[in-house]
Symmetry: C2
Subunit: 148 residues, 2 copies
DNA sequence: CTTGACCTTCCCATCATGGGAAGGTGTATC
DNA sequence: GATACACCTTCCCATGATGGGAAGGTCAAG
């Protein structure tokens, strides 16, 4: 099985399959004489595992840990659960932060006529913060760019 | 006012203030004879505007648009509202996606004993997808890395 | 034997942000 | 005045996960 077929079979792009190999997240597969990568069932299982972990928002480094635990038949389920729980908390906090932004903006938008006139509470409140939207100086920022 | 003081006054790091200047998001401030940047009230207003827009999850390009609209006294409030509404939808969708991940993982974690024994439904279900967690092939991915 | 679909490696871009080096400036204290 | 220290300048590099694209090799069908 070539890399393109493996990509279709696992839902991971060829680019990313090569990337995961380059950073050692997955083992290098066999090669044909001409240098083509050949994927076997075990390779595909690992890639599918990665795809599902990725869908759950795990980072590459977390997936590395999960793959190690997956392969270790003697690991304690507590080890897996600890990773999961930490991740759940981070996901929930990011979701909360985004929802809060959305709602704040929604409130602002509701008070904006949205017609030809220039008066616009949205931009006015961004220009001069209302107390309720003030960020207490050192609360961690959760802008879009900080969400990974 | 030097850049460090401007940073404290606006909540934007010196690094980012210089960056916003370099990409033309804010105008270059005056300089002292020795080359130090000097920030005046107008500069600070713009930086505070940016900080608040950033707290609402707006991207640099969206902030560029918002700043233009802010400075244009004759703009239609509909123009501002359109940007806000598009952004609200994106934020809400990202929040939803993250919350869904968190909940899926939460369900898995609840069925895991989290003790010394190796049996762990979390990792087993990542290894062999359950139907309910299957991603319908071409639904847009919303992993952590795609959230910006 | 040509065509076209694949494969290979390599480099570059994204987005917003921080780190750090190498060197200049400004001010308070000895 | 000199020394120390905090600040400023520009410049380059890194992040994380992903895609784009170039330049060239391989394979199978017509």
């Amino acid at each position: 099985m070539n890399i393109g077929q493996a990509a279709k079979a696992t839902g991971i792009s060829t680019k990313m399959i090569r990337y995961y190999e380059s950073i050692g997240l997955v083992a290098a597969p066999h090669r044909t004489e001409s240098g083509y990568r050949v994927y076997l069932d075990d390779d595909l299982h690992a890639l599918r595992f990665i795809n599902r972990a990725r869908d759950l928002g795990f980072s590459v480094e977390q997936m590395r840990d999960l793959l190690t635990l997956w392969r270790d038949r003697d690991r304690a389920s507590a080890d897996v659960k600890a990773i999961a729980r930490a991740h759940i908390a981070v996901l929930a906090e990011k979701a909360r932060a985004l929802a809060a932004m959305s709602e704040t903006l929604q409130h602002l938008a509701e008070t904006c006529h949205g017609d030809d006139r220039p008066s616009c509470p949205i931009i006015e409140k961004i220009a001069a913060a209302v107390p309720s939207s003030g960020r207490p100086a050192n609360r961690p920022r959760f802008g879009i760019a900080q969400l990974h």
